[in-house]
């Protein structure tokens, strides 16, 4: 089931990492909603007075992490609700863990643009700002949809699809025992069979989470940023380096201008591999409006945080910059005069291996070797996986005492837990509606008199 998040804003507390993604000095976690003060206190943080930036500590696995905390009481706050901002060391995986602790306390991941939207609904923003909000929500959600699509297409996708499928089948078998008992000779699934199926799904889910790493950690990888004027061929180069079509053309110019980021594996001469985050900053130099200012700011931040810049235009030589001359396949292009400008063609592949070697050289020891390929999870996906796993564990606790029985008891309660788990997995493996479940029953059993 889908809920319009904002309609719940009076009752739920939303949370998000609000600082720029990636490795930085400070990370900012923001909560908004009636329980935000209370939830932060469960971390051991002392929070007494509003509007006072206070030094405090977060209790974390027995360690005490220094932090700065700032609280506001609604309605005198950005969202007109109680707000807490936690500033922590800027380690992405640490920030993710803190966010998870707070989600366990009942906080909910904010939807794209939800803080701003809450502020808008509370009358904190004027009408001219509203259009910008709509565009921001659109852009952020497009980026998230892209990310979710990537997950579905990639390793996690096929994996989660199998999981959703297995879970849907288990649920269909339980539902068959409820809704289709006309054929009384059929016991759709015995408790022992259900335990077997659910244990298998539970194991897969826990394995998946153990092998996954957070999106934040992924974004903390060394950053290689493609820079250059519009139409320099950044996106083409981006796709060529990744060896796949990742950068998308925008349907409506001027709406989607998020920063594209994708992990890229580079191989050293000794065979070891290094993973970097390749970033394409679209629309950096495009005409400005209020929205674009924000995006340009984000783009400039990305450049500032870049470990290596691949520059596709005219620029001054610098230690962290690799200058390339793209589109060497075009007939009017000829060899560059300056020695340190690398001629490349994304179309023919010319110069790309050398570019990769140059990136590795510039990174030096900042490149992190990786042992095994891990899946990258966005915080919302991680949170969904966790909740699904817990729900299946609950269902297992319920079914396990029944394994000696022929038929299941309390089917409707077990079905409720499995339905919840399935809804959680919807963002990873596609939605499964009650009608889809019923369809599975029809396909398996001859039901109906």
């Amino acid at each position: 089931m889908l809920f319009l998040p904002i309609m719940t804003s009076n009752t739920s507390t939303i949370i998000a990492v609000s600082s720029a993604p990636g490795q930085s000095h400070r990370g900012l976690i923001r909560l908004s909603g009636p329980q935000s003060w209370e939830m932060v206190r469960t971390l051991g943080v002392t929070l007494d007075h509003p509007r006072q930036l206070t030094r405090a500590h977060v209790d974390f696995d027995g360690r005490k992490l220094p932090c700065l905390v700032l609280g506001f009481h609604g309605p005198a706050s950005y969202t007109a609700q109680d707000i807490v901002e936690l500033q922590l060391p800027g380690n992405p995986s640490l920030l993710d863990q803190v966010v998870h602790r707070l989600i366990q306390q009942g906080a909910r991941m904010a939807e794209p643009g939800e803080f701003t939207f809450t502020a808008y609904l509370a009358g904190k923003l004027d009408l001219t700002q509203a259009e910008g909000i709509a565009a921001t929500i659109h852009a952020t959600s497009q980026a998230q949809l892209q990310a979710a699509k990537l997950l579905r297409q990639g390793n996690l996708g096929s994996f989660s699809h199998q999981l959703v499928d297995a879970l849907a089948t288990a649920l269909a078998l339980v539902e068959a025992g409820i809704d289709f008992t006309d054929q009384e000779d059929v016991v759709a699934i015995t408790p022992a069979q259900l335990v077997e199926r659910l244990s298998d799904i539970h194991k897969q889910l826990t394995d998946l989470m153990a092998n996954a790493r957070s999106w934040g950690a992924l974004e903390a990888m060394p950053r290689v940023v493609l820079v250059g004027p519009p139409s320099a061929g950044k996106s083409t180069l981006f796709n060529a380096l990744l060896g796949k079509q990742r950068a998308v053309t925008h349907e409506q110019a001027g709406t989607t201008r998020d920063i594209l980021a994708e992990p890229l594996l580079l191989s050293r001469a000794d065979g070891s591999q290094v993973e970097v985050m390749l970033m394409d900053i679209a629309g950096l130099d495009d005409a400005a409006n209020t929205l674009d200012k924000d995006i340009q700011k984000a783009a400039r931040q990305s450049i500032e945080q870049a470990d290596v810049i691949v520059h596709l235009g005219q620029c001054e030589p610098a230690a962290d910059t690799i200058r390339v001359r793209p589109k060497m396949d075009m007939p009017n292009m000829h060899e560059a005069s300056e020695d340190d400008i690398l001629p490349i063609s994304a179309k023919t592949g010319m110069g790309l291996p050398k570019l990769k070697r140059t990136i590795l050289a510039r990174l030096g020891d900042r490149g992190v070797s990786i042992a095994a390929e891990k899946l990258a999870l966005q915080p919302r996906h991680e949170s969904a996986l966790k909740q699904a796993t817990d729900a299946i564990a609950d269902a297992l606790k319920y079914v396990q005492p029944q394994v000696q029985q022929h038929a299941l008891d309390d089917l409707e309660l077990i079905a409720g837990m499995l339905r919840f788990a399935l809804d959680q997995l919807a963002s990873l493996g596609g939605e499964m509606t009650p009608d889809d479940i019923i369809g599975r029953v029809f396909a398996t059993f001859c039901v109906g008199k």
């Binding site: 319009l4 939807e111 808008y120 609904l121 565009a135 659109h138 008199k449």
Partner: protein, 607 residues
Amino acid sequence: MVIGGGHAGSEAAWACANLGVRVAMITMEVDKIGAMSCNPAIGGLAKGQIVREIDALGGLMGIAADNTGIQFRILNASKGPAVRGPRCQSDKYAYAREVQRLLKTRSNIQLIQGVVDDILVEDGKTHGVIYSNPAQGINNQTLNTAAVILTTGTFMRGLMHTGEAKTQGGRVDEGSAEGISSNLTKLGLELGRLKTGTPPRLAAESINFDTLKEQPGDEQPQPFSDMTDITSFPPQKQVCCWITETCADSHEHIKANLDRAPLFNGQIEKGSVGPRYCPSIEDKVMRFSDRQSHHVFLEPESLETNEIYCNGISTSLPRDVQDVIVHNLPGCENAKILKYGYAVEYDMVWPHQIDATCMTKSIHGLFLAGQINGTSGYEEAAGQGLIAGLNAVRYMQGKDEIRFGRDQCYLGVMMDDLITKTPREPYRMFTSRAEFRLQLRSDNAADRLTPIGRDLGLVDDARWEHFEHRQQTVDAIKQTLTRTAYQGMRLIDWCKRPEVNRQWLTDRATGPEGEIFSRYPMLLDHVLAEVMYDGYLDRQTRDIERLRQQEKVQLPEHFDYNAVVGLRNESKAVLDKFRPRTMGQASRLAGITPADLMVLSVALGRR
């Protein structure tokens, strides 16, 4: 004005009459009002809950079923109270007569025999219908009304198939309504085509029941209606059903004659979709070719006649193939077929074109209920009839529309599913469609709906008085459970244990205080259900609160989704097609994301 006298039309007219307005029902044959075209049964899993809900809102289906039921049984009796479904086998002639009798008790209902060919619409508003009855010399007569409830069942361009034989009509020996389809299309409504089937009926005296397994009703039958007097229930003689089964020989014969089955050989219009949950025997044989036999339930259709319904072999196969299938059934070797099975295909209106009130979004005052909205089943039809009747009266009186929530009743789940999903087959209710299934039980239908029905004017004084007495009794039962202890523990705490049921409690409360348990067994079951699900209901409270908040936000009727900045193109297309009336409806459309809803809220806030 109600067009059609089936289960939707009857319930619609009844609701209108109870709300105090004058209502005319135009139907092709007045003495077929309330007819059971297919299975002579009311209720079942999820459907039984719907009947209880209709009853809680002052409807007639529960009363008619109680007065004419010849076998009462709670399905899933061994399972949790949320998934138990009351069902009865009805005397189909008595049932139709009872519906007609009840309608005639309302002086503000006028029955008119005739066929409606056109609905008059001006400036997007309904103002009357044109009907004919050649037998009475009436041709193209105009009747004025501000609200029309159209319940066409299987009669709109109804076409029946038995093998190669095709007959126009919605039911055996009855006609079809040919003109209305094209007029609905002219009004801008998009039509679809569905199909369904019915099995052969056998003569009871030609069946050898001695060899067959009996299927009796419950020892203590429970009525559907709260208004039924339990002391004289059931009023009809109770009978049992029998179980037999198909065999491999029949399956082979069906396969060999498949090219003569209209469901398979293309004789039935391509695109007509039949229900997967109620497959024809040819469908079963093809889809589950490894099964050697399928159950067939032999169900008496009436105490007055010898007709036996063969539940499980609905078919469109030619008569000679039906003969073989029937005679291969154990016990039916010499059975005489009174009526052969047939498939029927009919027109319907794609339900995204109505609101949860049953009113079409494009034509004010035109309400659709029952199979015309793509549903199947008497109960589903009756539920829509009630909702359409209620909202038609409110529309005429200028009052706000009533949409039941998914958290309130199965009726709400059904309406919401119809208008937010694209149906793949005739829609039938299942408990798994209701995310708040634990709340939507037959034992608490009155708690959920009777107070609402009272506010709306559907519940009369007698039912209200009964309801208040019921609430007092429930309180008294709870008090008794709290005050009475067994082995040092209060009975109310014992209720949380799985082994504790009605009998257990009755056995342990032997004093005068326990008398209430044996006197009100159904209400004791109700209290037990409340205790059992208590912890699980808490978890859903927040979801329900969110759902209600979203339903409060209404979306404007004429809204240009294409002009909304920041909405994805695919979302624009979905919203434009379905034109949801509340933010909640929008949220349940396939492909709509939370971000879309936020963008939409921004756009609405700016207006």
